[in-house]
């Protein structure tokens, strides 16, 4: 009888849970098994702090705490409407104490979420001005540095951060900058140290497993699969981990499975990238109709992001250029984006958009810039090789394309074949 009751209740829940709203209900089920969904930890915290704020509308700490939990919610739900709530909270906090450092650090986080890295950098710097002892502020400055292309300064900021307080926050940043500088093993080592350190939010640890998985996925899909599964065990249904597994499936040319993973990831977190992944995998199995549907969805997702105040020029430019859609817009967006984000990625996407618009000489200038930290990123190498193949530097093109594929035979669902074909033709 007990089993039957549970089963029927589950059936109903399964229908309700589709739009993701009945976590509460699930947790009642799990109570019986004395199991708690880690996701709801953040919700419990949120509720607690919201109540506290009502009782103490003049306590600046609560405004900051609530803002930061909202930001964690964005990480977990991708719901960027929380940013507006944070804006409102911080405006009120500023009236209580305009020199409270955490206000500016939190503003910086929102700016980054909206991809406004220059404003974010200014806010992060203001935060360190008001309180130079807080390690996370240096991390925020370094984050902006990376997006704006000031890599040397990012190294300095992260070193300051870890010198004051080595912990999860600093270890995971060190992993990324090591990756950018081509030290992949060092990046893995730092990410594993971050995982061992852990965080109060299980999602954070899952995120680090995914980052580790992406590093392993370059050349070791088996290990990467373990990493992604570990992320899922840490944080059930974690969409970036599902995307990772999808890419591994695609690397094995198991596109049907890849589509399953990507679609599941998208239903959990409607991020443009997952729709694009689905479209790419559908393209590989010649399901043009599905691919078009998914690319349409990708556009819709980008469109919605723009509407909610997130600048997605760079991401959209790459998407359009990669899929030979609306190449004029792609170039325009790559150019505006490069103006505000002169990172190696900014330069790389601009180079690729120029290439797609047959402006090969200019493309080469930016692709050289994109390689300024070294020849480590397979996507940048692929773009550089393609550009060289059009500027009569065939030997160099061959070398770069070969290198891209050697670093990662699976770097892209749709472009690895292009790389192979181009190599053959050279």
């Amino acid at each position: 009888m007990q089993y039957k009751v549970t089963f029927i209740v589950l059936l109903i829940v399964s229908v309700i849970a589709i739009d993701g709203g009945v976590l509460l209900y699930q947790s009642h089920q799990n109570t019986q098994q004395a199991n708690i969904q880690s996701q709801s930890k953040t919700d419990i915290l949120l509720k607690k702090i919201e109540t506290e704020l009502q009782k103490n509308p003049k306590e600046i700490k609560i405004y900051i705490a609530l803002s930061q939990v909202y930001l964690q919610k964005v990480r977990e739900t991708s719901d960027s409407s929380y940013y507006e709530k944070v804006d409102a909270l911080l405006t009120k906090a500023q009236k209580i104490d305009p020199k409270y450092a955490d206000i500016y650090a939190t503003k910086a986080m929102v700016d980054y979420g909206r991809h406004n890295f220059k404003t974010g950098l200014e806010n992060a710097q203001k935060a360190t001005q008001y309180n130079p002892d807080k390690p996370s502020y240096y991390g925020l400055i370094g984050d902006a540095d990376i997006e704006l292309g000031s890599y040397n300064d990012a190294v300095i900021q992260f070193q300051k951060m870890v010198d004051i307080r080595p912990d999860y926050n600093s270890y995971t940043r060190i992993a990324y900058i090591r990756e950018l500088y081509g030290d992949i093993n060092g990046a893995k080592e730092a990410e594993m140290t971050a995982i061992s350190a852990g965080s109060s939010f299980p999602e954070n640890v899952a995120w680090s497993y995914v980052e580790l998985g992406k590093l392993d996925a370059r050349d070791n899909p088996l290990q990467a699969t373990k990493d992604f599964n570990h992320a899922l065990a840490t944080y059930p249904n974690y969409s970036p981990a599902l995307e990772g597994l999808g890419k591994i499936a695609a690397a094995k040319k198991d596109y049907k499975n890849a589509i399953n993973y990507f679609e599941k990831a998208f239903t959990i977190l409607p991020v443009a990238a997952y729709a694009m992944d689905t479209g790419d995998a559908a393209t590989k199995v010649n399901d043009t109709k599905k691919a078009q549907q998914q690319y349409f969805l990708t556009k819709l997702a980008f469109e919605k992001s723009t509407k909610s105040g997130v600048n997605i020029d760079l991401e959209n430019a790459l998407f359009l250029a990669d899929h030979n859609m609306d190449l004029g817009t792609a170039l325009k967006q790559a150019q505006t984006s490069y103006k505000i984000r002169a990172s190696i990625n900014g330069a790389d996407v601009l180079a690729w958009a120029l290439y797609k618009n047959n402006r090969f000489d200019e493309a080469q200038k930016y692709s050289t810039e994109a390689l300024r930290l070294g020849e480590f990123d397979p996507q940048i190498l692929f773009h550089a090789g393609m550009i060289d193949s059009k500027t009569h530097q065939e030997a160099e093109a061959k070398r770069l394309l070969t290198k891209a594929l050697a670093i990662s035979p699976y770097f892209s669902i749709i472009q690895t074949d292009v790389a192979h074909e181009t190599l053959k033709a050279l």
Binding site: I18, H28, K48, I164, Y171, E189, T193, A197, S305
Partner: protein
């Protein structure tokens, strides 16, 4: 079967079921659209590293130091880490961090430096590398092969700079998962308690969090639920949570400065100061050849002596600075003790007539609080020529008493806080009362504190479970199987359980099913509608790409209204469920 596995299987079953329903009912594009509700779309290619992750594995929650009640010639020191462990913490459960240096430090001179230090380094061994399950079957002993993620530790004793390994490969018991995975937990824990070569007894592992406090109120601007706070009525915010503890019981003569076991509290060797720290490796951001991260120098990231200093005394903005600081540099924080924010708060919130307070070094500095937090109390816990620093000071010559009082020294029980700290000492009440001026007359004879000062408190006077009478004294950890997760279902936990007949239950189930069907048809209706609009929009965009923006906007409105209807229907369903759940969930 093993609970852990069971839970996982259920999760898998559940998600399959979910996907199945999903696909069959909402095939097509509308299915995907249904998750595009509201504005929750967001694209990110840049790497957004978490910034507000806190560091529970290196977070010192409480330090205890007391003369062992059943072994008066030994001192027990306990340091707790990893706050708020939900007992059902799978699948990873709670472990010490192998990369953290945990230390308990003792200053037996009063010069704000450690003279005896116990260092703990942990090592995790995964027995079956093909799974990341915490256990692969019931754990019956500490060397059971089913204890898949076993941890062991090394103890190093540092005496005045000289290091000596006093214990190696000491086992940490598993977390208390539940009766299937960890039957006879008490026995497992007992197996993990070891006496080392130097006579010290050690334990490291999970236990009930011995701290008890009205956390909600304490951090909610010191709200006292039932004024003045000495008549219960508080809610123990730590109830049912576990921590990871490191406990050692040391022969007293190994801790005192001259190797004696003092019996006279006036003996100059009888006062020790205790604090614990956690340190992490500093990394070089860009490695050079041959660098290994695990060899990076340690940086202290957490420190704790007297209770609540971090929460009550040190302001938020200085927390990282405080956690990285050493007692010998504590002069920089003296201001916060001499002129505490909490004093002003008690005055403004409860109109307590607190003693005058002023800047450090001024005539009105709170010398009573400086004694409690920085120098020790003269004649009890203040060492000769003490250098002011924040340590938990203990006079090891004050013998254990049978007449323990939770208010310790304030009540005349000189064996309790702030003379060291026993597990049952009500440090929240003691500190609130002290700030309100309860101990002020000791330093200013003739001063009469506000009568409220000796009545204030948080209304939580004891731990949720009893402590034990022998080492490590801490209560066993709450097990994951029978614990109720915090926050989510407090109502279920407190629901009175009147018997429910099977008819009532069947009826409730029927009602819930009907409501579920109503929801389904509502969803279907709205979803068909949305599908139509979506297809229409697609055609429009294909025909006139330049109009796509306005089409998107229209579609956005449709999505919003879809979202609204569904939310409404869902709420109705949830209400129904809440109404019926007491009946449904009963056995």
């Amino acid at each position: 079967m093993l609970k852990q596995l069971l839970t996982e299987q259920n999760q898998i079953k559940f998600s399959h079921l979910k996907m199945y329903k999903y696909v069959s009912v909402f095939a097509g594009v509308g299915l995907i659209l249904s998750s595009l509700l509201g504005t929750n779309i967001y694209a990110s290619s840049h790497r957004e590293a978490p910034t507000i992750a806190s560091d529970p594995k290196a977070d010192n929650t409480d330090v205890y130091a007391f003369v062992s009640p059943d072994k008066a010639n030994t001192v027990t020191l306990i340091a707790n880490f990893l706050p708020f462990e939900e007992p059902a913490g799978g699948p990873n459960f709670y472990r010490f961090d192998d990369n953290v240096l945990y230390e308990i430090k003792v200053d037996n001179v009063g010069d704000a430096k450690e003279h005896v230090t116990y260092q703990f380094r942990f090592k995790t061994t995964i027995k079956n590398k093909n799974t990341f399950l915490y256990n692969t079957g019931p754990i019956l002993s500490l060397d059971d092969k089913n204890y898949n993620m076993a941890q062991t530790y090394t103890v190093i004793k540092v005496t005045n700079g000289r290091s000596e390994v006093v214990g190696r490969d000491i086992p940490v018991p598993p977390d208390n998962i539940g009766p299937k995975s960890t039957p006879n937990y008490a026995n497992l824990q007992a197996q993990s308690i070891k006496t080392l070569s130097d006579g010290t007894t050690v334990f490291a592992g999970q236990s009930d969090d011995p701290f008890f406090a009205e956390l909600g109120g304490l951090f909610d601007l010191l709200t006292i639920r039932k004024l003045p706070g000495n008549a219960g009525g508080g809610v123990d915010g730590l109830k049912g949570y576990n921590v990871n503890s490191i406990a050692i019981q040391v022969p007293t003569n190994q801790l005192t400065k001259n190797g004696s076991t003092p019996t006279d509290p006036k003996d100059k060797a009888s006062i020790i100061g205790v604090w614990s720290t956690a340190s992490r490796h500093k990394l070089k951001v860009l490695k050079e050849n041959g660098d290994t991260d695990a060899n990076g120098p340690f940086v202290q990231v957490s420190r704790l002596g007297a209770p609540l200093v971090n929460e009550v005394v040190i302001p938020l903005k200085d927390k990282d600075k405080w956690n990285g600081s050493k007692p010998k540099n504590d002069a920089q924080f003296a201001e916060y003790v001499a002129n505490p924010e909490l004093g002003g708060l008690l005055k403004s919130l409860y109109n307590v007539n607190v003693p005058p307070q002023g800047a450090f070094g001024s005539a009105t500095q709170r010398d009573d609080l400086i004694a409690i937090f920085l120098t020790g109390i003269p004649g009890l816990t203040q060492p000769d020529k003490v250098k002011p620093s924040e340590e938990l000071r203990l006079n090891v010559a004050v013998p254990p008493t049978q007449n323990r009082n939770r208010l310790g020294v304030l009540s005349g029980d000189k064996q309790g806080f702030p003379n060291g700290r026993r597990l049952a000492d009500d440090v929240v009440d003691i500190e609130i009362q002290a700030v309100a001026g309860a101990a002020y007359p000791l330093f200013h004879p003739g001063y009469t504190p506000d009568p409220l000062a000796t009545q204030l408190g948080d209304g939580v006077d004891a731990n949720d479970v009893p402590f034990r009478t022998s080492f490590p004294y801490l209560a066993l950890p709450h097990d994951g199987f029978s614990s109720v997760p915090h926050g989510t279902t407090a109502d279920t936990a407190t629901t009175p359980t009147s018997p429910v007949s099977s008819n009532q239950k069947a009826d409730a189930l029927k009602q819930l099913e009907d409501q579920g069907n109503a929801f389904n048809s509502e969803f279907k209706k709205n979803q068909d509608d949305l599908n139509n609009q979506f297809n229409q929009a697609k055609n429009e965009v294909n025909a006139n790409p330049q109009n796509s923006k306005s089409v998107f906007e229209k579609l956005g409105t449709a999505l919003d209204s879809f979202n609204k209807s569904i939310n409404q229907a869902r709420e109705t369903f949830n209400n129904k469920y809440n109404e019926l759940k007491t009946t449904l969930l009963q056995n």
